[in-house]
């Protein structure tokens, strides 16, 4: 039973990270109907910047802050330079462009910081069962998720962002600057994504470090319905715990395959996710 308990606790902190990166995907998907496949790469670059800043100044928290700001800027730039020109194009175009960005940014990270793993620090002590660091990860992610939900639901900014996402034409007539709102959504999402990157990366940082995490985050978001932030956070935690059992009882190599299996099974039963609402397609 000891094992089971440990695996559950480990799964909760891993799940928090999946939830956070999944949340980043959902914010963008809600606003622009684009799944940002470059999300892990945006987070990767900010994490590398955190590494460099921390190494130069000796302060983990300064690096942390720089990473969040850099992530926001990258998100905004991506929306303005790459996504906006594709507004009226097919779904395939945005998938391919964000994948292209993923390749470019991963390659740039490898060029600057090399493909070799670099030691990247935890925020707090990580030893023992449910360490101080695990607690920090879970609390930060819950706090950020709460903040995002409050912003969306109860602030004028959130109202405008929702309006811009759901009814851009009406919103525009009512004086909402739709483009600005979409950009704000991308910035916000990339900030959350960078946070997830910082939490997910330790102990080692290398260009592909977030590939697996991204697959799980995407799985969490799909489980949640891609449109549903609360569902995604729940999906992240459920997936974290479930995959932790898979890793503990069947071996860590099986985790990605298990995530794929969960994804396929859930989508076969409920094509718009566990918590998503089915949408009628236009005939």
């Amino acid at each position: 039973m000891q094992d089971f308990f440990d695996l559950t606790l480990g799964g909760i902190s891993a799940g928090a990270v999946y939830a956070a990166l999944g949340l980043a995907l959902v914010i963008i998907y809600r606003a622009t109907r684009v799944v940002n496949f470059a999300q892990p790469a945006l987070a990767l670059i900010s994490t590398y910047l955190a590494y460099s800043v921390t190494k130069a100044t000796g302060s983990y928290w300064l690096g942390f802050a720089v990473a969040i700001v850099a992530g926001t800027v990258l998100g905004v730039a991506t929306e303005r330079l790459l996504i906006r020109p594709l507004r009226h194009r097919s779904e395939l175009s945005s998938i391919i462009v964000t994948l292209g960005l993923l390749l470019v940014l991963q390659a740039i990270a490898g060029m600057i910081w090399s493909n070799e793993p670099l030691a990247f620090p935890y925020a707090f002590d990580f030893r023992g069962r449910f360490s101080a660091n695990d607690l920090f990860v879970v609390l930060v992610v819950l706090a950020i998720a709460a903040l995002v939900l409050v912003v969306f639901k109860y602030t004028p900014l959130g109202l405008r962002m929702r309006a811009a996402a759901f009814a851009p034409d009406v919103a525009r007539i009512l004086g909402v600057r739709v483009g600005l709102m979409l950009t704000a959504g991308w910035g916000m999402a990339a900030a959350v994504g960078s946070l997830a990157g910082l939490l997910a990366t330790p102990p080692f940082l290398f260009p592909n470090v977030l590939d697996g995490v991204f697959v799980y985050a995407l799985t969490a978001a799909v489980l949640g319905g891609l449109d549903n932030p609360l569902g995604t956070i729940a999906g992240g935690f459920v997936l974290g715990v479930g995959l932790s059992y898979v890793s503990g009882y069947f071996g860590p190599e099986m985790v990605t395959i298990a995530a794929l299996a969960i994804l396929v099974i859930v989508l076969s039963v409920r094509p718009s996710g566990l918590f998503g609402r089915a949408k009628a397609r236009r005939v």
Binding site: Y29, V35, F37, L82, P85, L86, R89, E91, L92, S93, I95, I96, V97, L99, G100, L101, L102, L103, V104, L105, Q106, A107, I108, G110, M111, I112, W113, S114, N115, P207, N208, D211, G212, V215, L218, T219, V222, L226, G251, E253, M254, V255, T256, I257, A259, L260, L263, V264, L267, S268, P271, R281, V283
Partner: protein
């Protein structure tokens, strides 16, 4: 497709077989006049060509995005490696056939799942396939050789040609012969009824199903054909290199295959050829460039990926129809003055 009737002297299949034979003759000639190094590149273009053609059929024709095609190559490569090691009495053609079949089986499973998914959901699921499958080698290290993979030797040259033809040249011929046979079949599918069904499903699923096309089955068939191509490509790669290792089948491989499809021109099989050539030569050029400029290894190793990424972005933003689209326009421009002249003379 809409060529005037008088042009069709031969039935399409015969015409395509002749064309493939001619292409094979060109490849043989090319390998005879080039050095060993270039032979290897020609062979590499060959197996990429069939992988990219398969992905073109899937993504370009039926509109299903697969970010996991490297996984089918992985399956094909390991099938060949295992067969050569465990059942050495099998002839090479049987190994390759089984590699294609193994890829196809995986594709059937993936396709059955994918038939219910669309756009970003499908892309995410296939990405998970690309990330997850190579990890299996570490789960079963005794069987699949862990992260070092499996190595083996194939003696494919009949004793009669051992003295006359160098190993690599012979291998290049085998690769291209297999690829051209597969391509003839793929072209027949694409130009036939099934190909029309594929395009109908891509353009409008509802309309397709209203006109009697079984949408789910068509999508699964596209996955099947495409994965058979991927399995064959992986099998040929293993045959050529004598190894199958997880490091060759990273998600980056799957994404660069997609880059090749997009660069060549979505939906055009000729585009697959340009894409495959680009895959091989961008790699080669970036190595040469790194040598000339004395770039450090970090930059040099990552240069091809950066190039593929830039290609994906620039082509989608600026040239959505890819290289083959460019040729098409060029041909249109060249033809228009000629037609005008013709019309002028007629009047």
């Amino acid at each position: 497709m809409t060529a005037p009737e008088r042009k069709r002297v031969l039935p399409p299949l015969v015409r395509r077989v002749f064309f493939a034979l001619a292409a094979f003759a060109v490849v043989v000639l090319l390998t005879l006049v080039t050095d060993e190094f270039t032979n290897l590149r020609i062979a590499t273009i060959g197996y990429y060509l069939i992988a990219v053609a398969g992905l073109t059929l899937l993504t370009g024709l039926t509109g299903q995005v697969s970010l996991g095609h490297g996984a089918f190559m992985f399956i094909g490569a390991y099938t060949v490696a295992l067969l050569v090691n465990k059942v050495p009495s099998f002839p090479l053609w049987a190994d390759l056939l089984l590699a294609s079949a193994a890829g196809g089986l995986a594709g059937l499973l993936a396709g059955a799942a994918a038939a219910r998914l669309r756009g970003p959901y499908l892309a995410g699921a296939t990405l998970a396939l690309a990330v997850g499958l190579p990890a299996l080698t570490r789960r079963f290290p005794d069987f699949l050789g862990g992260s070092n993979g499996l190595s083996f030797t194939v003696h494919s040259r009949p004793s009669a040609v051992v003295g006359a033809v160098p190993e690599l040249r012979w291998q290049t011929w085998i690769v291209w012969l297999s690829v051209l046979i597969a391509l003839v079949l793929v072209v027949n599918i694409v130009r036939g009824r099934l190909g029309r069904d594929f395009r109908a499903v891509r353009d409008d699923e509802v309309a397709a199903s209203l006109s009697g096309i079984a949408v789910g089955r068509t999508k699964i068939l596209a996955f099947l054909v495409s994965a058979v191509c991927g399995g064959l490509a992986g099998g040929l790669q293993a045959f050529l290199l004598g190894t199958a290792a997880p490091g060759s089948f990273t998600p980056a491989l799957s994404l660069s295959l997609l880059a090749a499809v997009v660069l060549g021109g979505l939906g055009s099989l000729w585009g697959a050829l340009w894409g495959a050539v680009a895959l091989v030569y961008f790699q080669a050029w970036s190595e040469d460039l790194a040598d000339v400029l004395h770039l450090n290894t970090d930059v040099a190793n990552n240069l091809p990926l950066a190039v593929y990424g830039v290609i994906l972005i620039v082509v989608v933003l600026a040239f959505p129809r890819g290289i083959q689209g460019g040729f098409h326009r060029l041909r249109g421009l060249l033809r228009r003055p000629a037609e005008k002249k013709e019309n002028h003379e007629n009047h």
